[in-house]
């Protein structure tokens, strides 16, 4: 009786608390509703009087559950269970003997989960009703007599065993102290989501035991958690996290709870560190993973130093296993800081750990770590090969020498001819300190070829400046690899003299040209820029090209004047420098280039024209070019017209128009080409005129092609003003390909003229396709206005044999019959405080007449709403909703609200493709609103919301 009263009062309190929290939750706008949960309690061979309240507290603390406790699960009926979405069982048949629950309860329980709800069993809950299969399926892992066992309560690591499941994605492991079941029975088909390794030393089977299972039952879900022997076991944060997430998944099929940081508690971390002291390779890995997880959770937080100290203590413990100490050093990679260097210095003295300390030091920032690393003894070069006894001896000799004597030994080895000493010295160079390499460099040219190459490469890789005198000697060598190594080393050579060295080498060795260019570009001395400017003109061919290209790579905008002067003086430099100048030059350079253009011989004009064109387009100054065009004559003028084509403005257009009717064929052709590349449709009339007055077929075709290119730039908005020009051109075209180009241009200028003008071209097989395309696009564009010719054409196209064409024409017909979309030109706004989603746009995108843009707001932030406010009252009878995709990111459950009054409620909207037609009683109103409470996908996105009056006949 007492327990009943307590249970009832607790339940009432729980309900009251839940109501308060529920109200608070409702005020937090986006919080999902709490899951009504029934917790079965009242009987268990474990201490349910303490564990039940703990379970309830854990669940309610998440804010996702309201928990009611019952101590009389046997009295449950379907009606009593109906309000709950989840049952958590902390109950088993202890004390019931062979008794069964009444039939009503059994039926209620059996039907609960398959109907779409959730069940979660804790620990021993599975030890019940072994002869009732439905209950066994709900109960999860079960105690099988004679098979299942457990040892004493102990600490162990629980690891997730499914990386993608909603319950476990984002979790890795936790340490707990609990009773671990060995060999529990697992339901067929159940997924194992978390395991713990049961060590044979503790009486376990030496294998991973399931700790959390999940099973789909009918339309619902069950989970079984074998943890939770008593309240202490339930105190672990990991237990609570897994419990709550499994509960939410069982109830809803998804998990919304956020995952907090989960470093190990200090008692657990100390336990793991202690275990690491006795760990050997081959022991279970859980301890190591737990410490790695902890390192990841502590890195970059205030807990990092404590975590590092803990691991350093293990590493420094001489009584710990070597494997454990080495693992500790590896685990410090993310954690060690400059303050740990003294401890590491002490550890580095132990020969078995030196290499691991050296490796760790490469991850520790700061001067102290770098200094320690540099001071550590380097292990000798690897001795390899069966024939390398001599090399081994030479290497040993190098190792044994003092730091003072070693450079001399190296020098002797590198000079050769003793092959073994040479090999050993070359290998040693790879690890030699920078000052030793620097000391050997001046004598590099006097070494054996292999030695020279190795020394120069050692210098390059340390960015050591190689004396130019040394380079000079080596660069002239014909032996394979020598000159190449010197070229690479030249990339760090000091002084400007190296420019001449490299250019001379380029003359002799064209095969090294790519590397020479790289080195010239990278050489550090700023004097090289001037050296190249001075030297380049005295070279020719490949060497000169390299010099100029290196200049272009090295120089910045400050040297524009200098390079401009060079380009003017030296024809050989222009190929490399003109593009550079074109990208950086200003108005002054433009004038100078125009001047140059007039002076160079015809064969060299091309690159200058190109540079001018680029510059003119970049700087947008037309005046200087116009002046130059008017001054120039002959071939110069012809090319300058091309440059004019890159300018903008009416003056340039007028000049080109005039030139397009010149008597000289070259001038005409250049002008027509320039007009054909114009960026606006303003050039269209000039091109038409040019086509009309063309003398040769070639000229005419050029002009017509140009027209086909520029006309579409007028865009749909100005289609009707430009289309007639193109239509006139149709008559002039004498080739099918030109005709098709013009017809395709008309397709970008949908209008009534287009519609009528392309009619004659439907019949001819060569032009049918382009003509039909122009027609259907015009039909679609005119669908809003629906002149009779367009309607007629649409009907004809709707009978076409091409299915794509048929459907487009049919859709256009539907829209024609609907009349104009009155949402265009209206104002749209969102009715919530949601922000537009990055990919989508604001409400205006839903009424801009373009399918490409769409209204979309932040995912999972419902409910959503959009309102269109018409400029004037209309009698609205039909809405046409174009959603983002078929049943994906589209409104599913919503109300249609006209002037504040709901006129239509949609549930489970079924789209035809991505289009939904909503017929309404014709209602005069000014605002049309959609209040969306359910959606496909994660948010409702609308490409177009079209609003139609019903003044024409029904579709």
């Amino acid at each position: 009786m007492l327990s009943e009263t307590i249970g009832f009062r607790r339940a009432r309190l729980a309900l009251a608390a839940a109501l308060c929290l529920g109200l608070a939750a409702a005020q937090v706008r986006a919080a999902p509703p709490r899951i009504p949960t029934l917790l079965l309690s009242g009987s268990n061979n474990h201490d349910w009087r303490t564990t039940t309240p703990r379970l309830k507290a854990i669940l309610e603390a998440t804010g996702r559950f309201t928990v009611t406790v019952t101590e009389r699960p046997g009295e449950l009926t379907a009606a009593a269970l109906a309000p709950y979405r989840l049952v958590v069982s902390n109950w088993n048949t202890f004390g019931m003997g062979d008794a069964q629950w009444p039939e009503a309860a059994r039926r209620a329980i059996s039907g609960f989960v398959p109907g779409g709800k959730g069940w979660l069993t804790i620990h021993a809950g599975g030890s019940s009703f072994y002869d009732w299969p439905d209950y066994q399926r709900l109960a999860g892992p079960s105690w099988t007599n004679g098979v299942t066992s457990h040892g004493a309560m102990h600490r162990f690591v629980v690891q997730m065993s499914d990386a993608g499941h909603p319950i476990t994605h984002g979790l890795r492991l936790f340490i707990t102290r609990d009773e671990l079941w060995n060999r529990p029975g697992v339901q067929p088909g159940a997924q194992v989501l978390a395991t713990a390794y049961s060590e044979s030393a503790g009486g376990g089977a030496g294998r991973d035991e399931p700790v959390l299972t999940a099973l789909q039952v009918g339309r619902g879900r069950t989970c079984g958690l074998t943890l939770g022997h008593d309240v202490d076991a339930m105190a672990t944060p990991g237990f609570g996290l897994l419990l709550a997430r499994a509960a939410e998944w069982a109830a809803t099929g998804a998990v919304t709870q956020p995952i907090p940081r989960t470093p190990l508690g200090s008692a657990e971390a100390d336990w793991a560190a202690a275990a690491l002291r006795t760990w050997r390779s081959g022991d279970p890995n859980g301890i190591v993973w737990a410490l790695e997880h902890d390192a990841g959770q502590c890195a970059g937080t205030p807990g990092v130093q404590a975590a590092a100290k803990r691991l350093l203590t293990v590493a420094s413990d001489a009584a710990a296993t070597l494997d454990g100490r080495r693992q500790a050093l590896r685990l410090l990679t993310q954690l060690a800081g400059p303050g740990d260097v003294p401890a590491l210095a002490a550890l580095a003295k132990e020969p078995a750990l030196t290499a691991d300390v050296a490796a760790l030091l490469t991850s520790v920032p700061g001067k102290e770590a770098a200094a320690l690393r540099a001071a550590l003894p380097i292990s000798p070069p690897v001795r390899v090969g069966s024939s390398s006894g001599q090399i081994a001896r030479a290497a040993a000799e190098l190792d044994a020498a003092s730091a003072v004597a070693r450079p001399a030994l190296l020098r002797r080895g590198l000079r050769g001819p003793d092959a073994a000493r040479l090999r050993a010295a070359v290998a040693y160079l790879a690890v030699a300190p920078t000052d030793v390499v620097a000391g050997l460099l001046p004598a590099a040219a006097a070494m054996a070829p292999t030695g020279t190459i190795a020394l120069l490469d050692a210098a390059s890789s340390r960015s050591l400046p190689t004396p130019p005198a040394v380079l000079a000697g080596v660069l002239t060598s014909a032996r394979p690899g020598m000159a190449a190594a010197a070229v690479r080393a030249a990339a760090c050579a000091p002084g400007a003299g190296v420019a001449r060295l490299l250019l001379d080498t380029a003359k002799r060795r064209p095969d090294l040209a790519p590397a020479i260019r790289v080195s010239l570009s990278a050489a550090p001395s700023p004097g090289i820029d001037d050296a190249l400017v001075a030297l380049a003109p005295s070279y020719s061919g490949l060497a000169a090209t390299i010099a100029y290209e290196a200049l272009a790579e090295r120089c910045g905008a400050a040297q524009v004047a200098k390079l401009m002067a060079l380009a003017e003086r030296e024809p050989g430099s222009r190929r490399a420098l003109l593009p550079w100048l074109a990208d950086r030059g200003g108005a002054v350079e433009l004038e100078r280039l125009l001047h140059l253009h007039g002076k160079v011989p015809a064969g060299e004009r091309g690159p200058v024209t190109d540079a001018l064109t680029r510059m003119a387009g970049r700087l947008r100054c037309t005046e200087p070019v116009l002046r130059a065009v008017r001054r120039a004559q002959g071939g110069v003028r012809v090319e300058l017209l091309t440059v004019l084509g890159a300018c903008e403005g009416r003056a340039a257009l007028a000049e080109l128009t005039q030139a397009a009717s010149s008597a000289d064929p070259d001038t005409r052709a250049s002008a027509v080409a320039a007009l054909g590349a114009w960026t606006t449709a303003d050039a269209a009339p000039a091109l038409l005129e040019s086509a009309r007055s063309a003398v040769t077929a070639r000229d005419r075709t050029l002009a017509l092609r140009g027209l086909a290119r520029v006309a579409p730039q007028a865009g749909q908005a100005h289609a009707s003003s430009v289309a007639p020009t193109v239509v006139s051109a149709l008559a002039l075209a004498d080739r099918a390909d030109t005709l098709n180009l013009l017809l395709t241009a008309l397709a970008s200028l949908p209008s009534l003229e287009t519609l009528k003008a392309v009619e004659p071209y439907l019949a001819s097989p060569e032009t049918t396709a382009a003509a039909v395309a122009a027609q259907i696009i015009s039909v679609e564009a005119l669908a809003g206005v629906a002149p009779p010719e367009a309607r007629e054409m649409a009907v004809r196209l709707a009978a076409s044999s091409d299915p794509a064409l048929r459907s487009r024409a049919a859709e256009a017909l539907v829209r024609m019959d609907l009349g104009p979309n009155v949402a265009l030109g209206a104002r749209a706004e969102t009715t919530t405080s949601n922000a537009p989603d990055g990919q989508g746009g604001g409400a205006a995108s839903a009424i801009d007449g373009s399918r490409a843009t769409y209204w979309d707001e932040t995912d999972d932030h419902g409910p959503y709403g959009i309102r269109v406010i018409l400029p004037a009252p209309r009698t609205v009878g039909l809405l046409r909703l174009v959603a983002w995709a078929h049943h994906d990111y589209s409104p599913r459950d919503f109300e249609v609200v006209l002037d504040g009054a709901t006129v239509r409620t949609m549930r489970d909207a079924q789209y035809d493709g991505d289009v939904l037609l909503i017929r309404l009683e014709p209602t005069r109103c000014t605002s049309v609103e959609l209040r969306i409470s359910g959606w496909y996908g994660k948010s409702p996105a609308i490409r177009e919301l079209e609003i139609y009056e019903r003044t024409r006949r029904e579709p």
Partner: protein, 429 residues
């Protein structure tokens, strides 16, 4: 949709750029570069002739454009066995067996080197070859750290050698078709790319043992930490699943579908996702210590979603707002719309390099300067995705990648993991 006119301005711009870019190599006469004369057979050497390496060796031996002249391996029986088999195949002696791959790389008679060692040796061995001016074919995955990938990419550029990545799926026509469809915009705007590949395995003996007499174990370890030999350490499985030698299948198998992702997205640095958050499951015992299964979720700079999971069959899934293509080594998964399956690229749409034999494509690139179907750049980018995914699993944090800095940003502790220490005296530079 109306065609965009190519203005004279744009033509001039692109012509000028092309002039600047092409002028240089175009001027160098081909006869000067003797090694590129088409009639010359490429002298090929193999570093690493174990399971995969032996297979590659057989393949190259069958190609008339090359001649295998040297092999090296840490196992004496393998290198000598393959050298003898090569002599028998050519019917003439001459294939050298090197104990030390550095001697092989220094051999002036060799033009190109195939690196098929365990992963931890890929970049160090390749660098040695590159520094001797040899063209290289490197097996996937590229390196065992982000730093290694970037150093290798830089070395290929600086030394100007031909590079081929061992992602032979690029020489399969159905993969090329899929990527051409994606690049041609047939899927509309891309919304997501999903990758699956097989999972790692648990196991391996940890009992210390004596290395076999014909194995140079010290050389096998090379830059990896010194650890006692076990019977499962130097096997294929060991080379795939031990973290000292590899990152596991997230790189070792993932390299294949990730390379196809790169190919479909344009092979540029923007094809590397910029954010990674993931979970993995970890082996509870045994020698193999790379993650068993994983689920990494992230996004690209332009907002596309990225997901990389195992276990799964090897698949690259491109999802756009007008369709999707699922493609794996064995063929296609779903293709939407169904009609897309029969389509071919239209004129004007991008076409990708045609290669029907990955080895021949490499040799042709050396002999005639035609483009290889892979590149050091795309290899580096695709391998980075494996490493960034792996780092997100190991740290348990969200990893952010900045392509312009080529580094992990906002997380100094995770940035430390871009570098993997090498045991002295081996070093990258």
């Amino acid at each position: 949709m109306s065609p965009t006119p190519v203005t004279r301005r744009e033509l001039a711009l692109s012509a000028a750029r092309a002039t600047a870019a092409l002028a240089f190599p175009a001027i160098v006469p081909a006869s000067v570069l003797g090694a590129r004369a088409p009639s010359k057979r490429v002298a090929l050497a193999h570093v690493g002739v174990g399971g995969r390496g032996g297979g590659l060796l057989d393949g190259f031996r069958g190609l008339p454009e090359c001649r295998v002249v040297a092999v090296s391996d840490c196992y004496r029986s393998r290198r000598e066995g393959h050298a003898r088999a090569t002599d028998a195949a050519y019917g003439a002696a001459g294939c050298k067996a090197y104990a030390d791959f550095r001697d092989l790389c220094a051999d002036p008679a060799i033009d190109a080197v195939v690196v098929a060692t365990p992963d931890h040796w890929h970049v160090p061995a390749a660098l040695e070859a590159i520094r001797h001016g040899k063209h290289i074919y490197v097996e996937k995955p590229l390196g065992v750290s982000i730093e290694q990938d970037l150093v290798l990419r830089d070395a290929v550029r600086r030394y100007g050698v031909v590079f081929q990545y061992g992602t032979q799926q690029r020489s399969m026509p159905h993969m090329r078709w899929a990527c051409e469809m994606v690049r041609g915009g047939r899927l509309g705007k891309l919304r997501a790319v999903e990758i699956t590949c097989p999972a790692n395995v648990q196991g391996g003996s940890t009992t210390p043992a004596t290395p076999p007499a014909d194995l140079d174990y010290e050389m096998y370890l090379g830059p990896a930490p010194a650890t006692p030999y076990t019977i499962d350490r130097c096997t294929s499985l060991g080379s795939y699943h031990i973290f000292d030698f590899a990152v596991g299948f997230i790189g070792g198998w993932g390299a294949h579908p990730l390379d196809i992702m790169l190919w479909g997205l344009g092979d540029g640095p923007d094809a590397v996702p910029v954010e990674y958050t993931g979970s993995a499951t970890w082996p509870t015992s045994g020698l193999f210590d790379t993650p068993l299964t994983w689920d990494v979720r992230g996004r690209f700079a332009d907002g596309k979603r990225f997901r990389f999971t195992a276990p799964g069959s090897d698949m690259t899934v491109f999802i756009g707002d007008r369709g999707r293509i699922e493609v794996g080594r064995g063929g296609f998964g779903r293709i939407e719309p169904a009609s897309l399956r029969n389509e071919k690229p239209r004129p004007g749409e991008p076409r990708l390099t045609v290669s029907d034999n990955h080895g021949s494509n490499f040799l042709e690139a050396i002999r005639s300067g035609t483009p290889a179907v892979t590149s050091a750049d795309s290899a580096c980018w695709s391998d980075l995705v494996s490493h960034l995914s792996d780092i997100s699993l190991r740290t348990g944090r969200t990893i952010r990648w900045d392509p312009s800095k080529a580094a992990i940003v906002g997380d100094p502790a995770a940035a430390r993991l871009q570098h993997r220490p090498m045991r002295a005296p081996w070093r990258l530079k």
